[in-house]
């Protein structure tokens, strides 16, 4: 909501500028319009950026972000998928009430009513990893209570009544855990959770019962992919109660060589055991990725620099870029940056691009639905604007 106000404010300002200069006409007015559109676009671009894209935090050259999600339900109310409209509304109003009454705690937070947003705006929120696709499809009485830095979010009427989420740059599982746990402690003072001694926190999906905790991190593992070790390593990760999700494109090349790694077991371990176990595995992956980077470096430093340079050239000059291709090229440039071969591109810019070049964000920037061709066109425009 706050974002909307801010944007409207900007819009008005531009409009006033025009009104205040009635003498302007012809080319000048057009130019002003153009400038106004530019300002609005800058503002919109800024809204798509949040803290996890900072490129800071431990191991930021491999770990893009860390996420912690804690699922909670309210005692006596059916879970969102079976709840009636009134029951969903009840959950929503309860959170709204807590938000309004506890101004001290939630002072700068914004409560975003998802059904009040356009589908494109909702898509932007999923692309920023702030809400799930489920909430894009079923936004009725769904809401997001979001901290001003967009690190902490409480999702209302997602798969469970409440999903407490923290999203931080780099490998910061412990800090993310502390953030969600402290919000959980607080909410628990005022809400009766669905809880039983034996099974712990009761969730809509039995895969989350117990702690209700899903910890995850997004990793960039280009050297393991290039050296062909990734499949072996990922299936090993799969053996220890963790899940890996990667998206493959043509020729088995992963999109952007990014992997989301998360815990699957939520019962029979303490929360700390869960994220420490994940942390341990991620550290092993980091070491293996570093070793593979070393291997590539020994095989020919210039080869790597060449790969990054070529990718940069295409990103900078291509006119039509598909999502898959762009992700691949960004990964190539990123590897160059992470290995210190490219020094003028901040990781922050590359992280922002991961989100900015997605279709929801592109359409939000242009404020209209774009055809596939138009997206590819706009994607290259945005990449050229953002890359130094």
């Amino acid at each position: 909501m706050k974002n909307n106000e801010r944007k409207q404010g900007r819009g008005k300002k531009v409009f006033k500028e025009k009104e205040g200069n009635p003498g302007l006409q012809g080319e000048t007015e057009k130019e002003l319009d153009h400038k106004g559109a530019g300002i609005i676009e800058d503002q919109k671009r800024a809204e798509m950026i949040c803290t996890w894209m900072d490129g800071t935090g431990p191991e930021a050259d491999i770990v893009i972000n860390s996420r912690m999600q804690l699922a909670r339900n309210i005692k006596g109310i059916p879970f969102p998928c079976l709840a009636t409209e009134e029951q969903r509304e009840k959950v929503f109003s309860l959170l709204e009430k807590i938000f309004k009454e506890q101004q001290e705690r939630f002072s700068a937070y914004s409560l975003i009513n998802l059904s009040g947003l356009s589908p494109i705006k909702r898509q932007v929120l999923t692309e920023k990893q702030l809400i799930s696709l489920l909430m894009v499809r079923e936004p009725e009485y769904s809401a997001l209570l979001l901290s001003p830095d967009e690190v902490m979010g409480i999702l209302v009427n997602e798969e469970d009544h409440l999903l407490l989420q923290a999203l931080l740059p780099g490998l910061q599982l412990e800090k993310a855990w502390e953030a969600v746990s402290c919000h959980d402690d607080y909410l628990e003072e005022v809400i009766d959770y669905a809880f039983c001694e034996e099974l712990g926190y009761l969730t809509a999906c039995p895969t989350k019962v117990g702690t209700g905790l899903r910890a995850s991190a997004l990793l960039h593992l280009p050297a393991l992919v290039i050296t062909g070790q990734i499949n072996r390593i990922l299936s090993a990760v799969g053996q220890v109660g963790l899940a890996v999700e990667g998206i493959y494109g043509e020729g088995s090349q992963m999109t952007g060589r990014l992997f989301q790694i998360s815990n699957q077991v939520t019962l029979g371990q303490t929360e700390e055991e869960i994220w420490r176990n994940l942390y341990g595995v991620i550290n092993k992956l980091i070491n293996q990725e570093r070793a593979a980077r070393e291997q590539l470096l020994n095989a020919g430093r210039e080869k790597l620099a060449d790969r990054a340079g070529r990718a940069y050239g295409i990103l900078k000059h291509a006119r039509l870029l598909g999502f898959q291709e762009a992700m691949q090229l960004i990964s190539d440039v990123r590897l160059g940056v992470e290995m210190g071969m490219v020094d003028n591109i901040p990781l922050k810019t590359l992280n922002e691009l991961l989100v900015l070049i997605r279709s929801g964000c592109l359409q939000n920037l242009k404020e209209k639905t774009l055809s596939h061709y138009e997206r590819d066109l706009e994607r290259s425009v945005q990449i050229q604007k953002c890359l130094p």
Partner: protein
Amino acid sequence: MICQKCAKGNANVHLTKIVNGEKTEYFLCEVCARAQGDFELSFDEEFPLHQFFSDILEIIPPGGTEKLPREASEGLQCTSCGLTYAQFMQIGRLGCDSCYRIFSPGLHSLIRRLHGNQKHIGKVPARAGSSLKLKKEVERMRSEMQKKIYEEDFEGAAKLRDEIRQLEDQVFTGGEGLEE
């Protein structure tokens, strides 16, 4: 290869999900992949869970006396939210907190298969009573102690044993005894 969804296009998009070493693969054409709510980077997209369940459900555990989770609660319906067990197996979601109690035979067996465990040892709502919290802590320390004994760290185990005694005393003086 042909797209799994429309069975027309050429499946040149390949999605993989690995859960507990089980690899599930999806082959889609680019059109279907895009239609999939713009699958670009959609790490949040959960694939239908009944597929995931079904793998686990059909494996008869060693020993073989236990009923399959699919059968153990067959025909049950939650009196609170109206969800039937068959519906649950289809959508992979429970309807309310009572479902856990009502579907317990099959559901608990399923949960054990999913998590390799069926006892919560994590966080407890503070208001659920401090004695419950202490009890959980004692349980956790006991298993820790067992681990220490197994690792032949007897000194550490003895230290834990003393700490456990202290905690148990606290529970008793608090008026709420541990069962045992």
